[in-house]
Amino acid sequence: MRGKNNWKAWLYLAPAILFLAVFMVYPLIDVCIYALEENYSFAQGEATGIGLANFRHVLADPDFVQAVKNTFLIVVITVPVSTGVSLLISLGLSSIRRLQHLFQTVYFLPYVTNTLAVGLVFMILFRKTEYSDGLVNLLLNRIGLKTVDFIEGPYWAKMFVMCFYTVWAVMPFKILIMTSALASVNPDYYKAARVDGASSFRIFRKITLPMISSTVFYLIITGFIGAFKAYSDEVALFGTDLNAAGMNTIVGYVYDMLYGSSGGYPSYAAAAALILFAIVFTITYINLTVSRKTVQYV
């Protein structure tokens, strides 16, 4: 589109560009400015100078260090587990004939269920109250184990509930995508492989997995990014004071620095947000580099 019709193209693009400029580009630049302004005060709207003091402060803040630790644990545990389990469930789903649609719906339900409602259900399952130790503890007691306080107890118990919750919440989407990826593999490949005498496991490893590898990889990358941005699920389980519960995440820390009870520090929030960006960027870059060697785009 060269020449005099060019202005038309710009006109059509204008709404999107305007929207992106106001809500994406400007805030992005603003975050960088906030992060570099030292001792910025909301009240006066002034800063004392430019530098990396905010980053130094954030990195030294024990709450932030805890948040990074939590976030990484959630990412490292939930992404592989949810992807793997989703793949198994998708394989199961696509190999059954009867009731396939019913099961697909059942597995998709968490996706359309409100986070807080799900949080409530998890409370009933895991929370210890004066009247009951929660359903899971009842089961633990039944097999002779001691009651564990999953919501206010030891760190590993809280982390377990957190990861369990996250995996459960992200699986429907992955199952949906993987089931359709599996359905799009031409059945002739399976027939050919069967005639060629390949075992089911070999068919899976040599045919199915490479054929859906681009989808699996897409889910891993978006899974990583999504898990790094975890926050609302934590609130649903442990309430708004995540620092006190020791279950804060990086995004939670950013929010607390802005609006939390100890908030009012946009510069710290911006610095933390940029650190998160750097982490996600690096991980995604590594992912893509690895994928170029292993993923089949067919």
């Binding site: 069967r194 390949a198 067919v298």
Partner: protein, 362 residues
């Protein structure tokens, strides 16, 4: 290896009507002799692909038995039957190279059949040489032409040295020129290996040109089995006669009266010993001889030049379907002009069929 199909029947449950079955293959009995190239021929939906799937083991028959040699393979899964199967779309694994595709069946071998890596590569190379793709081993399928992909598929099917090679519409994805070339190639490969080969096609020309035997199917039922020329010259019913030959046979409403075949008001051919009554008269396009005193008169529509021969397109009120077509040598076509054209008929190119059942009258 000899393949015996013994009263083979395959029923599928109907999707639209509950309790009703669709019979895809109905009571198929045939023995395919060792080392032959057999063409399974019929219109789409006639059950030829199902027959192929039954032989390969991808489908299990509702009734009947399949024997490879003296071994009953009816209940055997595909991998134990030792068949090679070439799919219509080739089904080459797109993420594997040509060599990896050909190696795949060998890598699946277990137990005593297991081979060393070097032996497998050697085998794969032999198979690739046979179909002349040994220069392309490192390529991915999408970097190959349709013809090359098909060769890879054949190499993959042959590398294990199967008892039976099965090909499902092997040439239908190729362009016209390549199709001619590839079918010669197929014939050569089959001769070189001596593997009993069954291929499915809806293209009668393809089947006739390279097969030792052809099997003509319709609605799951075998209509006729024989050498291509025999089936062409001696069709058992109207369907087989119509299905074989291009241009197709001309079918006209006729009548046998007093030992003669009558079409319209003309007695066109002496046909002693046939039962009297209305019939379908089938006349092969090459069964006409242009003769100004001939007994059979047609309206002349146009003359199409084909080089050595010409195709005389005629009209006749008793003709079913489109125009009547006569193929005559170009040098005798000079006299064909005007409103009408008259023909003599070659007796062995004219068949009569029962008007009701379509069965050929003896």
């Amino acid at each position: 290896m000899r393949v015996l199909l013994d009263h083979l029947t395959k029923r599928f449950a109907s999707r639209t009507e509950k309790g009703k079955d669709v019979i895809a293959v109905n009571d198929f009995c045939f023995e395919i002799p060792d080392g032959q190239l057999v063409g399974l021929l019929g219109p789409s939906g006639c059950g030829k692909s199902t027959t192929l799937n039954l032989i390969s083991g991808l489908e299990t028959p509702s009734e009947g038995r399949i024997l490879f040699g003296d071994r009953d393979v009816t209940a055997m899964p595909p991998e134990e039957r030792g068949v090679g199967l070439v799919f219509q779309n080739y089904a080459l694994y797109p993420h594997l190279t040509v060599e990896e595709n050909i190696l795949f069946p060998l890598q699946n071998l277990k137990g005593r059949q297991k081979m060393t890596k070097e032996a497998m590569r050697q085998k794969a190379l032999e198979a690739a040489r046979l179909v002349q793709i040994d220069q392309l081993m490192e390529r991915k399928p999408k970097e190959l032409s349709g013809g090359q992909q098909q060769r890879v598929a054949i190499a993959r099917a042959l590398v294990k040295i199967p008892n039976v090679l099965l090909l499902d519409e092997p040439l239908s994805n190729l362009d016209a020129r390549l199709r001619l070339q590839t079918r010669e190639e197929l014939r050569r490969i089959q001769r070189d290996t001596g593997v009993t080969t069954i291929f499915v096609t809806h293209d009668q020309e393809e089947a006739m040109s390279i097969s030792d035997l052809i099997i003509v199917m319709k609605d799951g039922v075998v209509n006729q089995i024989g050498k291509p020329q025999e089936v062409y010259d001696d069709p058992v019913n109207l369907f087989v006669a119509q299905f074989l030959g291009t241009p197709a046979i001309n079918v006209l409403e006729g009548e046998i009266r007093q030992g003669r075949l009558r079409i319209g008001n003309e007695a066109v051919l002496e046909m002693p010993g046939k039962p009297e009554g209305p019939v379908w008269a089938g006349i092969r396009p090459e069964g006409f001889i242009q003769d100004d005193n001939g007994p059979f008169t047609c309206g002349l529509d146009r003359v199409e030049v084909m080089g050595r021969d010409v195709s005389v397109v005629c009209t006749h009120e008793k003709m079913t379907g489109r125009n009547l077509r006569a193929i005559i040598p170009a040098e005798t076509a000079a006299d064909v002009r005007g409103e009408t054209v008259r023909f003599r008929l070659k007796p062995f190119k004219v068949y009569v069929f029962d008007r009701e059942s379509g069965v050929r009258l003896p």
